[in-house]
Amino acid sequence: MIELANISKNFGKVQALQGVSLSAEAGSIHGIVGENGAGKSTLMKILTGFTSRSGGEILCRGKKISLDRPSDAMRFGIGMLYQEPLDFPQLSVLENFMAGEAAFAPGQARADLARLAAAFGFVFHPDNRVETLTVGERQQLELLRLIHGGARLLILDEPTTGISERQQEQLFAALRRLKADGAAILLVSHKLEEIDSLCDTVTVLRHGRVAAAMRCPFDRQALLQAMFDSLPERLSPPQTATGKEPVVEFDRVVVTVGRAGLHEATITVRTGEVVGLAGMDGSGQAVFLKIAGGFLPPESGQIRRFGRTLPNGCGCSRDVAFLPADRLAEGLLPGMTLREHHILAARGHIFLSAATGLAGSRRAIDDFNIKGHPETTAEELSGGNQQRLLLSLIPDEVRLILMENPTRGLDVQSADWTWQQLHRRKAEDGAIIFASPDLEEIMAQATRVVVFYDGRIILDTPTAATDYHEISRAITGEAGTTGPSDEVGRSGLLPD
């Protein structure tokens, strides 16, 4: 129904997609898989008209079309089900169902909704407000709205994250039925189970290119190999003597923030450890770090840091440093100069003059090789220099460093340098916990790997005792065969 030929897209110098071709046939389900940053989102944005392509062609029923804005996509019958439902929570089910329709006909819409819901076995009260619905129900409603709006190509982005088993079954049944009715479906997922059971064909993206295209049934091993970069079999993981003192202890911690949340996470990180958190984006790593930092109170369960239970809503402790993924939005103060950042990070300095903190700031700029001067504002720095600035702000007394994507946007030298600094900074009696989409980085830097899947810890093992395949299998939802191999305890709750 829709054919993509040789699509490419670049953002400045960054090549996000390069020569990607695939076709979505009517009456079939086509899977798209790939690592974080493989180019899946960009591809979907092009298909839905949010982003324009830099090269290549899109054919709809054999005719060249241009997708310059979302309304074009709607006109060609392309509908997308987003990970976060794009609905209006304050409006009623019926009002949401009618949204985007040209004609205002509530009576007709009510009848249509009832008919469609019955056909798919969904249950809706048209006058309930959408905010009272579960994510799964909102997804069902969104699906009906798209079908009602005439969508013949449905794109689903990680549709099963955070929905119940029963809703998942309903969704799969609905998708199979739509397929039988002649719709074309693109399913973006990292859960190979789903791909296996639903898809007729699958395209694997890696680094913006098509790494493989397969027909059903799939060779699981080949699929995994296509998805992830091949790595040297054995990197030498850093060997650090693991101390006995607990730094962070999670005891059955539950939160429902985000799509996946965190389900009964129990884990103890001890002094000397460098823990790498792996998993697809939004599987629970970010939430885990926020809780460990004290920025998010758990809904149930307990956290202890350095043996003390964390008071709720604190987050401003001086022995923990947190380096967020979005450095400018979450970690730095745009509009403030480097000097002002350093003054705030250091102690003392009640009264300030133009010279206050200047020497300290200059020293930090030199030490951390930041391309800027004390009066440069944070937003004027490049991404790599922003990360250096964040590193330079870590106070000396910090014993726990929490990081999201520590080397994102950094070139190889900068990344190496950053890790040297981190290992140097890590006190004997402290620990580092970091999340990274880059398995190589985890294997190279972490002494222990924890893999998140759907808000659960699915694998928790010393780096030395695992390998690259086990981790990639865990990321895609397959529990590893290696058991807990150290006394630290593997406490992730495996799905049955």
Binding site: F295, E330, L333, L352, L393
Partner: protein, 350 residues
């Protein structure tokens, strides 16, 4: 020579920007007046004569400038912390009530000077507590400070009406015209021939200096700014955004309360329902016109005070309604917002 450089610069320099704002605002108002058949020059001359061209009139201008400056300083604290302190009117009212609490007592047994000092301290505390209450509602109750402040404004207005009509009314009189005048020695003293109390001027200048130091040259000021810029990141620097915001509210409210205290001690010498004189809302315009910066605030306050004081002349001399001054004020603020908005856009597109 310098002017040529301005013209070359892609963004307006500060000087050029102010000219553009003034030109836009006054040009717009002038055009409006012209179409109504009123001479803008007459208006300008009348306003100037009624405000700066006599020492006595300038005293009146300063009487308005003082509370306006105090309120504007208060708002700088809250704006820097990223908070919209709409409740400032209520804080002025509450400060006035707090000062009146002491000043209306006849037998405190304290010397007049001590009573006055205490009354002004109390007005600061009163305004500060009222603002902190709005901050508390935000931190604990999740009530946006705009709605909380607005609600508290109504509460303060109700409270002052109740006090004036109820417990604090003049003997035998139930009137909106205010409480009994304070004892003469409890007026902030005004030398013969002066039109304002020098002490009030000193208080205002000290408050402005303190604001400049606290916001511009202390760690605390930096923390307030950090909270306003990015509360998420501020926490990484060990700053408690809620607590810092609350403190900014309390200080801002305290300055507004002090303005209220001075309104009773040196302007009206009694408590009346419209004691705030709308200075809180006017100060919001001042601070917006100043683009939330400290330096231009005294000048803009002075300009607004001149308009307000000079506008009395409009009905006397030109038989025009004095609300014209409000039109000029509004036009200035809209022009400033427009210019800042355009600049931002220009910068964004560059």
């Amino acid at each position: 020579m310098r002017y040529v450089q301005f013209m070359k610069h892609p963004l307006f320099s500060r000087f050029a920007r102010i000219s553009v704002i003034a030109g836009l605002a006054l040009g717009g108002v002038g055009l409006l007046l012209f179409t109504l058949g009123i001479s803008p020059v007459d208006i300008g001359v009348t306003l100037a004569r009624g405000s700066i061209l006599s020492l006595q009139k300038f005293g009146h201008v300063l009487t308005i400038w003082i509370p306006l400056l105090l309120c504007s300083c208060g708002l700088l604290f809250t704006f820097r912390a990223g908070l919209w302190n709409i409740g400032i009117e209520g804080q002025v009212v509450f400060g006035a009530i707090a000062a009146t609490l002491l000043l209306r007592e006849e037998n405190l047994g304290l010397p007049a000077a001590a009573t006055l000092i205490l009354a002004h301290i109390l007005s600061f505390i009163g305004g500060g507590l009222w603002a902190a209450f709005a901050g508390f509602l935000k931190n604990r109750g999740g009530v946006n400070e705009i709605f909380g402040g607005l609600g508290l404004n109504f509460v303060a207005q109700g409270l002052i009406l109740w006090l004036i009509l109820g417990p604090w009314k003049r003997a035998g009189v139930a009137s909106m015209s205010g409480t009994e005048m304070f004892a003469r020695e409890l007026w902030l003293s005004t030398p013969p021939g002066w039109r304002l109390a020098p002490a009030a001027l000193v208080i205002a200048c000290i408050a402005f200096a303190a604001t400049a130091v606290l916001l511009g040259a202390t760690r605390f000021g930096l923390q307030i700014r950090a909270t306003g810029i990015n509360p998420t990141a501020a926490r990484l620097f060990g700053i408690h955004p809620g607590r810092t915001g609350l403190l900014a509210m309390a200080i801002g409210g305290g300055l507004a309360g002090l303005a209220g205290g001075l309104q009773v001690s040196c302007v009206y010498h009694r408590l009346l329902p419209s004691i705030s004189s709308g200075y809180g809302y006017l100060a919001l315009l001042v601070v917006m016109l100043a683009h939330y910066r400290l330096r231009p605030v005294p000048a803009i306050c002075l300009f607004f005070a001149c308009l307000a004081a000079g506008s009395i002349q409009l009905p006397i001399v030109l038989k025009l309604d004095s609300s014209l001054a409000g039109v000029i004020q509004g036009a200035c603020v809209v022009s400033a917002l427009l210019v800042h908005g355009l600049q931002k856009r220009q910068r964004g597109e560059l």
